[in-house]
């Protein structure tokens, strides 16, 4: 790990107060992410994965620990350098695909002509150029999710946060989207935090995998993943892939 990571989370803790009671949403979150790295965060429901993303997006503030994003080489502007993708594509039904992709550019007040051009390139990159003027409900779930990835990239943010983006897709589409994501990641050279409860998906995509466990919700371990590059589906049949997934299953008490 380099001395000056793009993201440094150190012993981050978040507490929610409901009525008079307090409960710990997540604790012991310690993670360093290099610029341009794709890091998976894996764990079962209720382990605080989404809370970590919300803290990075400044939707919540941490109640303890250190959160730092950006370094001298890659300065980070909060509110400008975040793109998000969720399990649901969350496209606006009354906007065409290209206009959906442009939403962040409109909100940030970016010049529209350049943004429109950029949105066109992004649709090409995610492979849905022919649907630019279609409405979201005319697209399959996988195609909608490609549009939402393009939307997360349109304002050229430095950090992409993905919260189980392929969780609602069928198994085959999901595998295809995993390959697509690796390609998009390499082309766009973005830093991506990828939250999933799929252990195989986490290992396949991430250059490191942070494992989170519930009750108490905490970051329990993390693995640097070294697999043959470029990663193709063949990687999943290698011994080391099997070893990583076995260790994570073990950590989650599922062996």
């Amino acid at each position: 790990m380099s001395a000056d990571p793009f993201i440094r989370l150190d012993s981050v803790r978040k507490v929610f107060r409901v009525g008079g009671a307090e409960f710990v949403a997540v604790q012991d979150v310690t993670l360093d992410v290099r610029e341009g790295e794709l890091v998976s965060i894996v764990g079962p429901s209720g382990c605080g994965k989404s809370t970590v993303l919300s803290i990075l997006a400044e939707l919540y503030t941490a109640d303890g620990g250190t959160v730092r994003i950006g370094n001298d080489a890659a300065p980070f502007t909060p509110g400008r350098d975040i793109g998000m993708v969720f399990q649901k594509a969350l496209l606006l039904k009354w906007r065409t695909i290209i206009d959906n992709v442009l939403l962040p550019a409109e909100i940030l007040g970016l010049p529209m002509r350049e943004s429109r051009e950029r949105a066109g390139h992004l649709l090409e990159m995610v492979g849905i150029t022919k649907f630019a003027d279609a409405y979201p409900q005319q697209l399959s779930g996988g195609m909608q999710q490609r549009a939402s990835i393009a939307r997360a990239l349109v304002h050229d943010p430095r950090l992409i946060l993905m919260d189980e983006p392929f969780g609602a897709l069928d198994a085959l589409t999901r595998e295809r989207m995993n390959l697509e994501l690796l390609r998009i990641w390499k082309e766009s050279r973005k830093t991506i935090l990828f939250v999933t409860h799929g252990i195989q998906e986490a290992v396949f995509l991430g250059s490191q995998v942070a494992v989170m466990t519930p009750s108490p919700a905490r970051m329990a371990a993390h693995f640097d993943i070294e697999l043959p590059e470029p990663r193709t589906l063949d990687v999943k049949t290698t011994d080391s892939f099997g070893e990583y997934t076995r260790q994570i299953y073990h950590l989650l008490g599922m062996d």
Binding site: S54, A57, E58, L59, P78, G79, R80, I82, M84, F86, Q87, K88, L90, L92, K93, W94, L103, P104, E106, I107, L108, Y135, Q137, Q138, H155, P157, L161, D163
Partner: protein
């Protein structure tokens, strides 16, 4: 749009209804002062002493005026409720209570307060039909995916941007469902107002002709009231088509 065949069925059903009415009059010996034939009803429109156009336009203005007022006030209130939660917490329960007061029963009071004529009848139509608009629009405005709000808040979207780009267009299908319910109520409201106190309008005309046992003229008045209602409903459907259906937005 629906297929041509579906329209064919709809037209056939309407024609069939009138045909059964005509047959019933012909085969039975129901006297004409109980049930006049469709033809006899239609012929009443030619009776110039009835002043059809005055009554027709008075009622039309009452219905459309009360309805337009209800849409404007209803949407404005819904927006206020969404923007200021304290107002919502205080006024929404009050509104629910007031809605329980039968507006029809309040009509005699309205007459005392506002005298009689077009304006009080418009207010009665307004009072009876604005609540469904408030309720459905409010619901449409708050029914937004929380993650979608998170997505735009992460890039520091302000409240106005969220409102204009996400909440308001998202609420349109709800608004139109409320407007369709309200269209039916507005017609009833205006007619009730005319029943209670008025000197013009199709409701007033109905009561006058009832005293004369002029059933066919009463039926013609009903046909015209229905026509106004259908015109209003059709206008709402047209607007819904332009702003919602054409863009493929459904709830």
């Amino acid at each position: 749009m629906k297929s041509l065949r579906a329209y064919g069925y709809a037209v056939a059903a309407h024609i069939g209804f009138v045909a059964i009415w005509q047959m019933a009059v012909m085969v039975s010996d129901i006297p004409a002062y109980i049930l006049p034939s469709p033809w006899a009803t239609l012929m009443e429109i030619g009776e110039s002493s009835y002043n059809w156009s005055t009554h027709f336009w008075v009622t039309t203005v009452e219905i459309f005026g009360g309805y337009a007022l209800a849409v404007i006030v209803g949407v404005a209130l819904a927006v206020l409720f969404v923007w200021i939660p304290a107002v919502n917490a205080a006024l929404m329960p009050l509104l629910v209570t007031l809605n329980m007061v039968p507006k029809v029963a309040m009509a005699p009071l309205f007459i005392i307060w506002f005298s009689y004529g077009i304006v009080p009848n418009m207010i009665i139509a307004f009072a009876i039909c604005f609540f469904p608009i408030v309720l459905t629009t409010y619901r449409g405005l708050i029914e937004v995916e929380p993650d979608l709000i998170n997505l735009v808040r992460a890039i520091k979207a302000n409240r106005w941007q969220i409102f204009v780009k996400i909440q308001l267009p998202g609420s349109l299908p709800y608004l139109f469902s409320g407007m369709k319910v309200a269209a039916v109520l507005a017609v009833a409201g205006a007619i009730v107002g005319e029943f209670i106190a008025s000197d013009r309008g199709l409701g007033y005309f109905l009561l006058v002709q009832q005293n004369a046992l002029n059933t066919s003229a009463m039926m013609m008045a009903l046909v015209l009231i229905t026509f106004i209602g259908v015109a209003l409903y059709g206008l709402v459907l047209l607007l819904e088509y332009v702003f919602v259906t054409r863009k493929g937005i459904e709830t």
